[in-house]
């Protein structure tokens, strides 16, 4: 799969991508033309996909089996690209980890997909449609450090916030919303904490609260930003079992992950990212020592881990 992605990249690069409709990205593209990968390329037929934001009938053009499709996505901070020319296809129903070193643009990729930060170039489609049309299908779990946990509110209230988007303007959450939020709290094992003030939560409980807020959205695809960062063992187990349950129900879960040790155990799909996509595909084929070296470079600590883990996986 990694090879196929690379093949497609190469082909597109050689075509100079004149068809791509990027207003801002044209200048950056030209430099990219010369950066053709030297990796061995197996020629696979590549389906040309129009990269324009899909018009009204867009859904029909794409097979429904692609949950998330990223084309030529570039995001830059201060004219330094944080992610560069990302092409990505996430099939429906997988548990996918986005893995890469610090500063590789993992969170940036998710935020750009949700249009929380401006894109320099590229398109992102969920189930063949631009994000604005399918907001309700996309659940988001931000990093828990991104909010003030001393805000005067309860756990149940935070979870209910997951339904605000669906309620829309002016409508107030009522009993039905509260019941749904309570149900989501039960799923993450936090039902006894419903009336707890959020400043009294441990880090893991905060994370589970955020997870419940996403669950209550009842989305088709979930994007989670480092849900396993600094959580206790109980929370880690709760999160992974919920992810598996979501997959069993046909949902797609995309997770920014930083722990190489657990990646192969938790996920069935992986994208290795370091500004560019190094490889993306089923974990067995993609999570290889070679790919990890390309992602992390020769950094010893990572590499030893990676080789050990990858070696174990290949056995």
């Amino acid at each position: 799969m990694g090879g196929a992605a690379r093949a497609r990249r190469r082909e597109l690069h050689l075509k100079e991508r004149t068809a791509v409709s990027n207003q801002d990205g044209v200048g950056i593209r030209q430099a990219d033309v010369v950066r053709v990968r030297e990796a061995p390329v197996q020629e696979t037929p590549v389906q040309e996909t129009p990269a324009q934001e899909a018009p009204a009938g867009g859904a029909a053009q794409k097979p429904a089996s692609t949950a998330l499709e990223v084309d030529d996505l570039t995001v830059a901070y201060d004219s330094r690209p944080a992610i560069w020319d990302i092409d990505l296809r996430v099939p429906e129903g997988v548990l996918m980890a986005i893995i890469g070193p610090n500063g590789a643009g993992k969170s940036t990729l998710i935020k750009a997909a949700l249009k929380l930060i401006p894109r320099a170039a590229g398109t992102v489609q969920f189930y063949g449609q631009p994000y604005e049309r399918v907001r309700g299908m996309v659940g988001y779990v931000p990093q828990r450090g991104s909010v003030d946990w001393d805000f005067p509110t309860t756990v149940l209230d935070v979870v209910t916030m997951g339904l605000y988007g669906r309620l829309g303007w002016l409508r107030r959450p009522g009993q039905r919303e509260q019941a749904a939020a309570m149900h989501a709290l039960e799923q993450v094992g936090m039902q006894d904490f419903a009336e707890r003030q959020i400043s009294q939560l441990s880090g893991g409980q905060q994370q589970r609260t955020f997870l419940a807020r996403a669950l209550v959205q009842d989305a088709r695809i979930y994007l989670m930003d480092e849900p396993f960062a600094a959580v206790d063992a109980v929370t880690e187990r709760a999160i992974i079992s919920i992810m598996r349950e979501l997959r069993a129900r046909g949902k797609t879960v995309v997770v920014v992950h930083h722990d190489l040790q657990t990646a192969a155990e938790y996920f069935d799909w992986v994208t290795l990212l370091n500004v560019e996509v190094v490889a993306s595909g089923p974990i067995g084929e993609t999570f290889t020592a070679d790919n990890l070296r390309q992602t992390y470079g020769g950094r010893v600590a990572y590499l030893q881990d990676a080789q050990r883990i990858a070696g174990r996986e290949e056995l």
Binding site: P142, D148, F151, T153, M161, W169, V234
Partner: protein, 457 residues
Amino acid sequence: MSAKNSKPKTKNSQDRRIWLLIGATALVAALFVPFSQLFLHVEYDYTLRTVALGGALLGVVSGVLGCFAVLRRQSLLGDALSHAALPGVAIAFLLVGRDLGLLLVGAGVTSWLGVYFIRLLTNTTRIKQDAAMGIVLAAWFAAGIALLVYIQARPDASQAGLDSFIFGQAAAIVERDVQLIAVVGAVSFVVLGLFWKEFKLITFDAEFAGASGFRVNLLNMLLSTLIVVAIVLGLQLAGVILMVGMLIASGIAARQWTNHLGQMVILSAVFGAFAGSTGAIVSAVDADIPTGPLIVVVAFLLVVTSLAFAPGRGLVWMLLRQRNDRRRFAAQTMLQDLYHYATDHGAADTAAPESFLFGVRGAAAKIGLQQLHARGQAQPRDGAWMLTSAGIEAAARDDRNNQLWSVYRQYADDLDLPSVAEDRQQEVTQVLPADAVARLERQLDRLRTAASDVTES
């Protein structure tokens, strides 16, 4: 299960506390009127009634909207905004002459431009928000001062008193101004009510609000506009420099007493009304005492009181809790020390010499033994301490609980036990379901038997 049962109770008790507090604040405010008449010889003439009512209403409006400034960590934005209102007053005066309504509109416009500019600077440049606020505050205020000085140099007499917008001049407030505060305040409350859930969401987690499809920038501007409205309404009374105090003080005080946004806002309104009215009354003791500054001082006293005494968050409360914890932990340690000493030296009621306990534990031993004695779990005898039967029972239970937790930590996966957070202050038998407890206890027995087999052989 127990947590579920106690949940509504804690919620109700907190609700009740808030209502009590609101009642108490209203009572103090009401009692303050005869008190001030009798002891401070305050005369309730038309001016004072108007000013006190105006101060109370303004306290409500700024208290409610100020909560959001506090929670968004934008208290200083309030300061920048009120300073930024000054050039608007001067420009409006130069353009249309002296008309209070239009002066306030002018104030609102420049203040709002100030917010917009701060947001622009923060969003499009690499300047941080505090720097953006600082520069806008200084620049707008400087422009305002320059214009005021220029206006005052003119021979025209109508400019007299325009500089009262800097520090505020409550005595100038008439009934129409009070009506204006009431009407505009009511309108802003309606807007707040309509967008309550949106404002709450962007205040707590703006990123998630954006991902949920809300127009975060628009909502931010709307909320800032409401805050500008509150500021402009208070300019006459408190002035551009002190207005920030009215805006944020009651919100800060209210936050200490409650963990619910709705309650916080209501309480902040009550505190604001209290500060506004009593501040006005106290300032009437002598005609030379300015009203705006006194209101802010009263509001600050509310903040100090709340920070000190609010249950759960207040300093006094925290000190008490720390002392209780220290005692409880000392008692728990001593219980275990006595128990282990005794079982190591024969029977569980063997007495441990005080000098030994003090040598091992120092000051904590004294606290702990006092606690155990008071609970009837330990008693002194000839310079030594022994556990009572109740103490032995408690120690044995605690000891077993600790052992069970240790087994849980090691064998939870092997025994397929439900995963819970380890908390040794709780009894594991209460935390886990009965069948899990049974498996856990069997495992502990197995380990014990194995250990004793080893020692025997």
